[in-house]
């Protein structure tokens, strides 16, 4: 009799926990915000209004900070945690952090050259020289050599950069750091860097950079490809490591991830070996604690389970919403990595990640 009662109570509690409404909170990057809100809208429908996600697009830095302070269930960031941060998180909370990729983005050189209708070709070295201020004019032989059939007006170059801290800047400077030793030595990579050319102008946000580029003949800047495409801004092709000039179209961005990925997916996708990949690409990441119970934001196992199911849905079914919103989808290999990481997630020792992924 007693046994039956316990079973009954267990069943009832299981039933209620499965039916209970769950509300999850995340914070972080602005770049994937449109696709994230699409995911969360669709997922609400998929789960019959049971799992609701509130996402605050406060920037990658803010997302990482909130994640470390454990005020959110998950963070979202354009760049993964570095080794130091990973070690600190493990030391302070007892749980490693997972950086789960869910979407790919790319950064393109945008420019304003009156009369030029063909797409210009660039190499990393030339872009680095332009953004270092070494190349000052559009009629520089280095640019002409890459674009033999284009008549480029002899305008002085104005370099336009993001003045706000941004994952876009990180990806762009990460690429330039890899291709140019001079860049690595003088500027380096970061969400905000110390821009050195004399002919530079900083614009706030994607719209600020695009606005300055549009209004300034001879300007060159960099934008997220999503923004450049949606706003019809002219952008150039960039030569990848295999020597091909690549336009940042969705398959080329996805292809950039066709490389050997490390187990934790914390990898820079700029200048990869992929022969048909666009060289200035990057993952965006969900930041998750491996032991969800170590994140103070999680109050119950039901929450943890709902969250893991959401993660699995995003890297599998949810991927079909990427391309209509001009975000590149994960490669099969990256998806397998993401699922492998999700299956490591536990809650109070229970391997809920494995259970959910195995379903």
């Amino acid at each position: 009799m007693k046994k039956m009662l316990i079973t009954a109570i267990a069943l009832v509690s299981l039933a209620t926990s499965a039916l209970a409404q769950v509300s999850l909170t995340g914070a972080g990057a602005t770049f994937p915000f449109p696709v994230l809100s699409k995911y969360f809208d669709e997922y609400l429908k998929v789960t019959n209004n049971q799992v609701r996600v509130n996402y605050q697009s406060i920037g990658s830095g803010g997302g990482q900070r909130q994640f470390i302070e454990q005020t959110v269930h998950f963070g979202v960031s354009d760049n993964p945690f570095n080794d130091q941060q990973m070690a600190d998180i493990r030391k302070n909370t007892g749980s490693p952090a997972l950086n789960i990729p869910f979407v790919l983005g790319a950064v393109v050189p945008t420019y304003n050259l009156p009369g030029v209708t063909q797409r210009l070709n660039f190499t990393g070295e030339v872009l680095a020289d332009i953004f270092l201020g070494n190349i000052k004019n559009w009629n520089d032989p280095a640019i002409a050599a890459l674009n033999p059939n284009v008549r480029i007006p002899p305008l002085p170059i104005t370099v336009v950069h993001r003045s706000d801290g941004s994952g876009t800047t990180f990806v762009w400077t990460d690429y330039l750091t890899k291709v140019s030793p001079e860049w690595a030595q003088k500027v380096g990579r970061g969400n905000s860097v110390n821009w050195i050319p004399a002919n530079k102008v900083g614009g706030r946000g994607n719209e600020g950079v695009a606005g300055v580029v549009r209004n300034t003949p001879g300007a060159i800047g960099y934008n997220e490809v999503t923004y450049a495409v949606q706003n019809n801004i002219q952008f150039g092709a960039v030569r990848n490591r295999a020597g091909r000039f690549m336009v940042a179209e969705l398959p080329a961005i996805t292809a950039a991830a066709n490389v050997v990925l490390p187990g934790d997916a914390r990898v820079s996708l700029t200048n990869t070996q992929a022969p048909d990949g666009y060289p200035v690409s990057s993952f965006a990441y969900m930041l998750v604690y491996e032991q969800l119970d170590k994140n103070k934001a999680f109050k119950s196992e039901a929450e943890a389970r709902a969250f893991v199911q959401l993660l699995k849905w995003i890297v599998t079914e949810g991927q079909k919403f990427n391309e209509p919103l001009t975000y590149a989808r994960l490669t099969d290999a990256a998806q397998a990595r993401a699922l492998a990481m999700i299956s490591r997630i536990t809650y109070q020792g229970k391997p809920i990640g494995k259970e959910v992924v195995g379903q």
Binding site: G61, G165, G190, S192, V193, N194, A198, K200, G202, V212
Partner: protein, 328 residues
């Protein structure tokens, strides 16, 4: 008839003993506590800004942080805020210099010359200027003002200088349209209404006998304004200018959108510059490194100090400028 006794009973009713004895003291305590809370709020704000920025301020030194000219959060992880401090001071003072004559002219015209309907209309527009959100000024700056200034001012001057006075080019900088001077122009148009409104009120408050006396002595209209009105109203005009300066020091978004946000000294007239509020607003969001984050809060602390110094100086000068016997 029934109401009258009820009223009188209210009037006649004595306050209860506790209020009779303690009323004044309770009131004093409440007022004091509220007044002190403002002091606590201000000091607390400064203290917590210092606390947040202390990591970087301690690393760079109190004056090293202030006078350092390199702000490199990526490679050298080195933070000096002098480019931002000087940018803030230059843009604010220059905006004040540009805006005060215009604002004062508008105030004198509406208070002394304009027919009533026109004065009302101008005053309405001036108030409207103050109500426009700063991000709207920023958009206007990006899409209208900057290209306009580039075409009619920067490029002609730049080209002329390149041909006739090459030494000048060094001080002019890149005429892209997004830079120090555009920032100053946007800023000055934003602060005009503050000076204009306070000056107008100050001029309206000049007592009629003062004017009449001047007219009686045979002064022309211009002489009346010059000798009787402006000296009397100077306190109010100065207060308006200081309000505008305070606003200019803290203005963030519109400036950040057009100033070009360069932090390499020396600044040039047309080239990019940056200000303290702008760097806070722009870099805080994505500041991942602790030292960078702390440096940005440190900028907030120094901005607090700059605002404090400016306000203290302003109120000192205001006291000196007060006309004998004038109220407020």
């Amino acid at each position: 008839m029934q109401q009258a006794p009820a009223q009188s009973s209210i009037i006649k009713r004595q306050p209860s003993a506790i209020f009779r004895v303690l009323g004044d003291r309770i009131f004093l305590a409440v007022v004091l506590a509220l007044a002190l809370s403002i002091v606590a709020l201000t000091l607390g704000l400064g203290y917590y800004l210092y606390l947040g920025g202390s990591q970087t301020i301690n690393k760079e030194g109190f004056f090293g942080f202030l006078t350092g000219t390199t702000w490199d959060p990526a490679l050298k992880i080195e933070f000096g805020i002098w480019p931002y401090v000087s940018g803030t001071i230059i843009t604010s003072l220059a905006a004040l210099v540009l805006s005060v004559p215009v604002a004062l002219a508008a105030a004198i015209f509406t208070a002394e010359y304009a027919p009533r309907w026109l004065a009302g209309f101008i005053n309405y527009l001036v108030d409207l200027m103050a109500a426009v959100p700063s991000v709207v000024y920023g958009i206007w700056g990006i899409f209208v003002l900057a290209p306009f200034l580039r075409e009619v001012f920067y490029l002609p001057v730049f080209v002329w200088a390149a041909e006739n006075a090459p030494w000048l080019s060094r001080y002019l900088g890149n005429p892209s349209g997004y830079g120090l001077f555009t920032g100053i122009v946007v800023l000055s148009s934003m602060v005009i209404p503050f000076t204009a409104a306070l000056s107008r009120d100050a001029i309206n408050l000049v007592p009629a006998p003062q004017r009449e006396g001047a007219y009686a002595l045979g002064a022309t209209r211009w002489e009346v304004i010059q000798t009787a009105i402006l000296p009397y109203a100077r306190g109010g005009i100065f207060a308006g200018a200081m309000l505008a300066l305070g606003r200019a020091l803290g203005e963030t978004m519109a400036v950040a959108m057009v100033i070009g946000n360069g932090n390499v000294l020396p600044y040039t007239l047309f080239g990019p510059a940056s200000t303290m509020p702008a760097v806070i607003a722009l870099e805080l969001k994505e500041a991942v490194e602790d030292l960078h984050y702390s440096a940005i809060i440190g900028v907030g602390f120094y901005l607090f100090l700059v605002a404090f110094i400016v306000n203290a100086t302003a109120s000192y000068l205001l006291n000196k400028l007060k006309v004998e016997g004038q109220r407020a």
